[in-house]
Point group: C2
């Protein structure tokens, strides 16, 4: 546990792979491409779930559960959908000892099952909107495993909604992107760029895909959540119709949106350092770890009751606190261990602190003396709450500064190529699909998004030289 990581700047990839294991977040499953999410990683995901679920319910959504098996023929009803997902499917051909008449697909996403159900459930405009969310796992075949970022099975939520009009569907698509943005920025301290995907990067079957894009600690991009306006594509493929107020039959407009355990990868890669994880306080399984320090039984009997009292005060103040009472480990070992796991604040309490009525607080995000202070035990819960807020803000601020410093506004291809070596290129863009593919082939950079926030006006496209009325963000992506 206490062995060092490779330095983040020396080998970011190796740093990430080792950290996920050392911080005890996840492990490899026995089947290639699969992942075991260990208790510490799952507790982080449960906090992400709660942070999102609260927002989904506040915007009127309800949870449900759909089967994991999809008849193979369902996948084929929407032509772009099947084209996009076919190469990634896991197929069940035998059940109960028999070969199946029709093979079953393990869901890569549930639009088709939802389409089938909506067509049964929706009859009248009074049934609309339908605002569903599912928490589950999906399967998209992968051979090159990278824990949290690329696994055959991953955990996520998938929202699915049906509406009477295009305007309502468009409102929903944007609303859920705003929910993701709010969660990313304010709970995960991950600054994201909300934007629209180019046609090439759209979800298979969508008319429009919105995305939040984040910059990782090596300057590369991670698509961190997407929200799709599916138009009437699935409504037509699955015959989702409703009788409007004039008794006339209309196709519905549908949306879908998802955020996955991939986001844990973003948290690791945005905030972590050479000592390990740094978790944003709002999502950390343990916001505070307390390490009682003593050398003998006399000191122990002085320290432990105070540690217990402080713990109670913190718990009552709603702080998630862990007391590390492991007997066979030194305080120094424990400090390193909890730093690896990214607990935002550490409290040390020893015999002198008990005498002086103080405690030592150490911030995970500021190593050494700079992040350490001795504070009074009086009002400690309030002090700690304040410090957690400070850490939360500092993480966001640091990540934002890093991203802004590495986002380069460029107007020619040479500068573009230089920019995407270490970060994002921000450019005026009027290219075609073919131009976009060409840029990718030549530079490995992809069009991450056309930001929702645009400067307005018109400039020259950096690549085609044509007049462009929008800026785009390019970057090399995970």
């Amino acid at each position: 546990m206490s062995d060092k990581l490779v330095s983040r700047s020396d080998d970011f990839n190796e740093w990430y792979n080792t950290l996920v294991l050392k911080a005890d977040l996840a492990d490899y499953g026995p089947v290639r491409g699969t992942m075991i999410v260990k208790p510490y990683g799952w507790a982080l995901w449960e906090n992400i779930q709660q942070a999102l679920d609260r927002r989904f319910k506040a915007t009127g959504h309800v949870n449900a559960a759909f089967p994991m098996f999809i008849p193979h023929s369902f996948m084929e009803r929407e032509s772009k959908h099947v084209e996009g997902f076919s190469p990634q499917l896991a197929v069940v051909t035998h059940g109960g000892g028999q070969e199946l008449e029709e093979p079953l697909v393990v869901r890569p996403t549930s639009e088709t099952l939802i389409g089938h159900a909506f067509s049964k459930w929706i009859n009248s405009y009074r049934d609309l909107p339908v605002l569903l969310n599912l928490w589950n796992s999906v399967v998209r075949w992968e051979l090159r495993t990278k824990l949290f970022l690329r696994t055959s099975e991953f955990y996520w939520q998938e929202g699915h909604t049906a509406h009477a009009t295009l305007e309502e569907a468009e409102f929903e698509t944007r609303q859920m992107l705003d929910v993701y943005t709010d969660f990313a920025v304010n709970d995960a301290a991950v600054p994201v760029i909300p934007g629209e995907k180019s046609p090439l990067e759209r979800f298979a079957g969508a008319d429009r895909t919105l995305t939040i894009e984040a910059m990782m600690g090596d300057g590369r991009a991670l698509q961190s959540g997407t929200s799709h306006n599916l138009g009437q594509n699935f409504a037509k493929a699955f015959d989702i119709k409703y009788l409007d107020a004039n008794n006339s039959l209309q196709y519905c407009w549908t949306t879908s949106w998802g955020l996955s355990t991939r986001f844990i990868g973003a948290i690791i890669m945005v905030h972590g350092d050479d000592q390990g994880l740094i978790l944003p306080p709002r999502l950390a399984p343990h916001q505070v770890v307390m390490v009682p320090i003593y050398k003998n039984d006399t000191e122990k009997s002085a320290v432990l009751p105070v540690a217990e009292r402080i713990k109670q005060e913190l718990v009552e103040a709603g702080i998630r606190v862990k007391v590390d009472q492991r007997e066979h480990l030194s305080p120094g070992f424990k400090f390193n261990d909890w730093e690896m796991r990214g607990v935002p604040v550490r409290i040390e309490i020893g015999p002198k602190d008990v005498t002086n009525n103080v405690a030592a607080l150490a911030r995970r995000d500021k190593p050494g003396r700079e992040g350490k202070q001795f504070v009074s035990q009086e009002g400690l819960a309030q002090t700690v709450k304040g410090l957690l807020d400070t850490v939360q803000e500092a993480l966001l601020e640091r990540a934002r500064r890093f991203r802004d410093e590495r986002t380069y506004t460029v107007d020619n291809y040479d500068d573009f190529k230089e920019a995407i070596k270490t970060g994002f290129a921000k450019v005026w863009w009027a290219g075609s699909d073919a131009d976009e593919q060409q840029v990718q082939a030549e530079t490995k950079a992809t069009l991450r998004c056309l930001p929702l926030e645009q400067p307005g006006g018109s400039e020259v496209c950096f690549y085609t030289g044509k007049p462009a009325d929008r800026i785009a963000i390019f970057g090399r992506a995970y």
Copy 2:
């Protein structure tokens, strides 16, 4: 929605199947054997999850997530396990467009994956105990679908633990059965009989299986949760070993325990009546439904603000309340609709009630005048809280009386055959596996459990005539 159900006493089976659909709990998936859990059913399951998860965490367990795919060879390592589960497996043979070298099983339960992981994770006695729980879905192939009771895919939790000694594993097995019993009795108002399964009915791979058995409204039995002492069977099959304090290598002792969406079937069949569901207040998605009553805009503007104020008071008191403001439906329709969905308490508020500062409360478990009362709006939240507790107790009491009345202590085979037509037969039992199979073949009744609570002493076995020192409960089961 308001159409009548068939009477429970006329056709219990049809009553159940129709009710699940009419109460909007679940629907059939497009693949035979699969189930869609609709938002109302899923909200009930989420409340069950919370009630159990709280108890799991209080007893030191942590959640994690394991992959759904198991290498086929893993299933074969524990001989009884593969024998028990082979006929029910769904098998993935193709992934990413290729035929797989080794077919994958979609988990029917995760003992084998857990065994593989434990063997990697556990090294020393300091690593023990490991106390895990997983919330997921599993697949056991079924062709005859019955929603919640028998579906190819179902939702559950599976606990998996590893211990240093047999005694600790035995303590855990019993502790988790007690957790299930406490949940069933105190949250679901389902009186259960905690007991041990006979060797024939054990989990495939267990040394000992404990169970909670409940009686449904037609007198039949439902196994409602099980807890298994797996001995060293999986430890030996998967090489789960630890170094003890004397530096000597030992096999671990493991347990597993599960409770599934099947339990929703128990809640429906124990409490429901001819008007629909009756949900126990502690688990009901809506504990209270409020129906504002008005005939014109003047009345509406008098009633709605009071309804809103009452709602706020109830929400602040921690009561889950739904206000039914649907404009196009009559109060009578709404009453029937919420009765079908089993909301424990209804509040009616009309213009007269506003004038008189009262509200009408109607209990779902007591139809008509008997269950209805007018109460003051002063302190209404407390009144409602008290009423919810009363309903909760009344449901448990009624179910317990029903079960006790239909549990017949019998000492001969004729009376036994009569008893199991309408309920449970309680008998002294000293039969062999073959005797047990013979009884089942002749009567369709199975040995539900050997209750943990035994009278002591010894009597004559009703079937073999041999001396018996234990009583057993037999019944026809779902």
